[in-house]
């Protein structure tokens, strides 16, 4: 019999048939039509597929669905209500922290995970924490500026 798994996705309880070979990345993209989470390498190198699992940034391409059972998943689509931008999203807009924008959802989710753990990281810590998210267009300096701009006390409450 087909096993059904349950987990929380962007604040809603969802369920789906378990397919042992399926990664969280492609379950999100095909089963849930949440295409904001991107494929870049499929092997955990680039971070384009970053989502939060129980508030930890993870590479969804390396997570099998069996391990998602009972977990809480947040994707870029779940970061803010439909008509609003999360402060990190707003910071990316204000700093124009993207070119092609393909790496952007993964960058934002990774930055969100970083700030949840440490709301005021130094520039150095931001760079370390973002290091394995790849941007081929070279929007790095604007991305660091954007993340840095959110990392202060005033914005802290809005994030939580």
């Amino acid at each position: 019999m087909e096993k059904i798994i349950q987990f929380e996705l962007n604040g809603n309880q969802v369920q789906m048939p378990l397919n042992q070979d399926q990664s969280l990345l492609w379950a999100l993209r095909t089963h849930f039509n949440l295409t904001g989470t991107k494929y870049g390498c499929g092997l955990g190198f680039c971070g384009a597929c970053t989502v939060l699992m129980d508030n930890e940034p993870v590479r969804s391409c390396t997570i099998y669905m069996a391990d998602v059972e009972g977990k809480k998943i947040t994707t870029i689509e779940g970061l803010a209500p439909a008509d609003q931008l999360h402060p990190i999203q707003q910071a990316f807009v204000d700093h124009d922290a993207m070119q092609c924008g393909y790496c952007t959802p993964g960058m934002i989710m990774n930055a969100y995970g970083l700030l949840l753990k440490n709301p005021s990281p130094s520039r150095k810590l931001i760079i370390e924490g973002m290091n394995n998210n790849y941007c081929r267009c070279g929007a790095h300096s604007q991305i660091v500026d954007a993340v840095e701009s959110v990392s202060n006390e005033a914005k802290l409450n809005q994030i939580k």
Binding site: N19, D21, Q22, S23, W26, R29, T30, N33, L34, T35, G36, T37, K38, Y39, G40, C41, G42, L43, F45, C46, A48, T75, I76, E77, A80, L85, Q89, Q90, F92, V93, D94, D96, M98, Q99, C100, G101, Y102, C103, T104, P105, I108, I127, E128, M130, N131, N132, N133, Y134, C135, R136, C137, G138, A139, H140, S141, Q142, I143, V144
Partner: protein, 712 residues
């Protein structure tokens, strides 16, 4: 340099070029769209067509539409891949037409809606398409003003336009909007170049920094790339690939996948694919197919390739000759002979090649990640034997391209499978497929002999570039006796090569600027001073002086131990000069780039903020080919398969970047590529200044740096 010459340089390397056909846009667009139509000629494309004997369009190349509600739509065959033309072209149209920037909507890269365009490359969008767009907008405005004069009972010179409204000078309350004018007036008009665009000093929206208009969609994860389209019944396809380039298909045993539930198998000669609604299931299934191949590969690898290339039969093209290099040799007190190398480099956009195709009756619609929607349309029509009007290409946001998405083989794969199966088919290359099928920046060699007289004047320049192409091979410096030749050959590389951001120029600028520093060091001169002494080109002198000021350059004899580097060059009409500071760990060979400054002269700059972002991007991306990026292979077998063995720049590499754009009111030039061309030479020169070690091969990996250090 003439544009046609620039393009010729790109053609030196084997770029996949699709045959281009003349298009008639009145027929194509039909009479279904309302509003005011303006068609315009593209003078510069005429020049291209004649020069290159390609059948590029000579008639209407682009158009705009003004709706009844005053919304302006700009249709362009150009596409948005991160370079920002979605914003800068809208700025240009709004400013010339005198409408609000916010009222301009861009429709890009849709072959059913947009006028023909060869492709988004060569930094042509603003410098070539731009003037045409301005000319169209200027003409549209004069048409509107003459209509307004009729309506308001005035002469045209009593009127002025602002914010989409035409008013009578000095008469408050007497006005008509563009929207009111177009209502009920459908006008087609062939432009005859009579209305002139504004003077650069009159622009108000152009020249302003505007944040990209697509940012909000992108941060929400709502911007759609080709892989994000979801169609009813859509299947993901995985295609059987040969194990290496040059392998010939013999047979395939597909029995293992024939009876897997929900897996569809397609066999069309050598073209074999499996389809499934889940890409991971399709991937699993394709691995079950056992295929046999024969191999006749070129026995070369990333180490032996340079000898192999130099020993192959090549065709020589003299790019430039002045004076007589024999005399130059005699006049030289000292002659410097150098050979420079660079390895194959991958494009590696984070979005891999992706396309989804489906049938609408007998018409194929393909949504494609490409730089060349019309090229793709031609390819699909030709390969699937369809008339052009039965193929429509739609280009959504493109997740980076850098030249690598001019070829878009994945679109043909998707279209072919859609035609064979009748289903919507998504082809979304894996990273491994992306590396395997990429058209790499070619491995290349440059042999350079230069000479200097006893006054530190460059007296000889004998330049031979093999396989990089001649773009950027300009001597730049003032040399009486000089010769530049470009050598190329067909089918010499073990796999496909193609245009990579500023094709050829990265390699050529690396060689030239390294050689200049070698000479400056020998002359015992500061490398900036040596350059200025040997330059006549005022624009080059201008960017060098600007970057020196920005960087705070202090003259010294090199190597000074400070790790300072300098390089300059020109690409696609723009001038750039860079300075950098690096630290080299002499034990590990690891280079830390501390800061990079760059000055750019790009003529009139439409969106300074956007242009500066392109400069930042060029600098970051350029660090990759300078320091780490190199494709490994044995014959046609590409060993580099994913980012684990191909290191692109990361956040920890980020130097302090400072940029300045010179304030010019001259013809608009390129912005997306120039600032990448100096990165190899810049870092090589900085490493020399830090350590006294001279690097002759890109990328300058720790291993190569240690080797060079051992020779100091």
């Amino acid at each position: 340099m003439k544009l046609s010459e620039l393009l010729q340089e790109d053609l030196d390397i084997e770029i996949e070029t699709n045959r281009l056909k003349r298009r008639d846009f009145i027929k194509l667009t039909g009479a279904s769209l309302g509003g005011l139509f303006v068609f315009f000629r593209t003078g510069s494309f005429d020049l291209l067509a004649a020069d290159q004997k390609r059948t590029l369009p000579t008639d209407y190349n682009a158009f705009l539409r003004i709706d009844e509600d005053g919304e302006v739509t700009c249709f362009t065959g150009k596409i948005e891949m991160g370079q920002g033309v979605i914003t800068s072209l809208a700025q240009m149209l709004a400013d010339e037409l005198d409408v609000a920037f916010e009222s301009v909507k861009m429709v890009m890269g849709d072959t059913d809606l947009c006028p023909y365009d060869a492709g988004t490359w060569g930094s042509l969008s603003v410098r070539v398409f731009g003037p045409s767009l301005l000319a169209a907008a200027a003409e549209a405005k004069s048409v509107l003003i003459s209509l307004a004069a009729e309506k308001l009972g005035t002469t045209t010179d009593q009127l002025y336009a602002q914010g989409g409204v035409i008013s009578v000078k000095g008469e408050k309350g007497l006005f008509v909007t563009y929207g009111q004018l177009t209502k009920g007036n459908r006008i087609e008009k062939l432009l005859d170049n009579q209305s002139k665009p504004k003077d650069f000093s009159e622009y108000k929206i152009m020249g302003k920094s505007i944040i990209r208009t697509d940012a909000t969609e992108k941060v929400r994860g709502k911007a759609l790339y080709a892989g994000d389209y979801r169609l009813p019944g859509m299947l993901y396809a995985k295609i059987l690939r040969p194990p290496s380039h040059g392998a010939s298909f013999v047979s395939a045993d597909t029995s293992a996948v024939r009876n897997i539930e929900e897996v569809m198998l397609v066999e069309d000669g050598e073209f074999i694919a499996v389809l499934h609604k889940d890409p991971e299931q399709a991937e699993k299934a394709i691995r079950l197919i056992k295929a046999a191949y024969t191999f006749q590969e070129k026995k070369v690898d990333e180490k032996t390739i340079f000898d192999f290339l130099l020993n192959s039969e090549t065709e020589e093209r003299v790019v430039n000759e002045k004076g007589d290099i024999k005399n130059g040799r005699i006049a030289s007190k000292e002659v410097f002979e150098s050979t420079f190398y660079n390895s194959y480099v991958a494009h590696s956009p984070i979005e891999t090649h992706t396309a989804v195709a489906y049938l609408e009756e007998d018409k194929i619609i393909a949504i494609v990640s490409t730089q060349s929607p019309f090229g793709v349309q031609d390819m699909i029509a030709r390969e699937l034997d369809l008339p052009l009007e039965k193929v429509r290409i739609i280009t959504p946001f493109v997740g980076g391209a850098f030249g690598g998405k001019a070829p878009a083989q994945q679109a043909l794969e998707a279209a072919r499978l859609a035609k064979l199966t009748g289903k919507p088919v998504m082809v979304h290359w894996t990273r491994e497929e992306e590396f395997f099928n990429d058209t790499f920046r070619p491995a290349a060699v440059i042999k350079l002999s230069s000479g200097m007289d006893d006054q530190a004047n460059i007296s000889l320049w004998d330049y031979k570039v093999y396989f990089a192409g001649s773009r950027g091979s300009d001597t730049v410096y003032d040399v009486a006796d000089q010769r530049t030749a470009s050598f190329s050959a067909k089918n010499v590389h073990p796999f496909s090569v193609g245009a990579w951001r500023a094709p050829g120029n990265n390699t050529n600028t690396f060689a030239r600027e390294s050689q200049i520093d070698i000479m400056a060091a020998k002359a015992g001169m500061d490398p900036l001073e040596f350059r200025l002494k040997n330059l006549k080109d005022e624009r080059m002198i201008g960017v060098l002086k600007a970057v020196a000021e920005l960087f705070g350059w202090k003259p010294a004899k090199f190597p000074s131990g400070r790790g300072y580097g300098i390089a300059c060059g020109l690409d696609a009409g723009s001038y750039v000069a860079h300075m950098a500071e690096v630290k080299v760990d002499q034990k590990t060979g690891f280079v830390e780039v501390v800061r990079v400054a760059c000055a750019q002269d790009m003529g009139f700059c439409v969106n300074p903020h956007g242009a500066k972002m392109q400069m930042d991007g060029c600098i970051m991306m350029g660090l990759g080919y300078a320091l780490s990026e190199e494709v490994e292979f044995t014959g046609g077998d590409i060993k580099t398969a994913n980012f684990g063995t191909y290191q692109i720049p990361q956040f920890s590499w980020l130097p302090i970047i400072e940029t300045v754009i010179l304030d010019k009111k001259e013809a608009m030039q390129a912005g997306g590529e120039p600032a990448i061309i100096c990165m190899g030479g810049l870092i090589a020169n900085a490493i020399f200044d830090a350590t006294g070690a001279r690097l002759f091969q890109l990328p300058m990996t720790p291993k190569r740096i240690l080797e060079a250090l051992s020779k100091v």
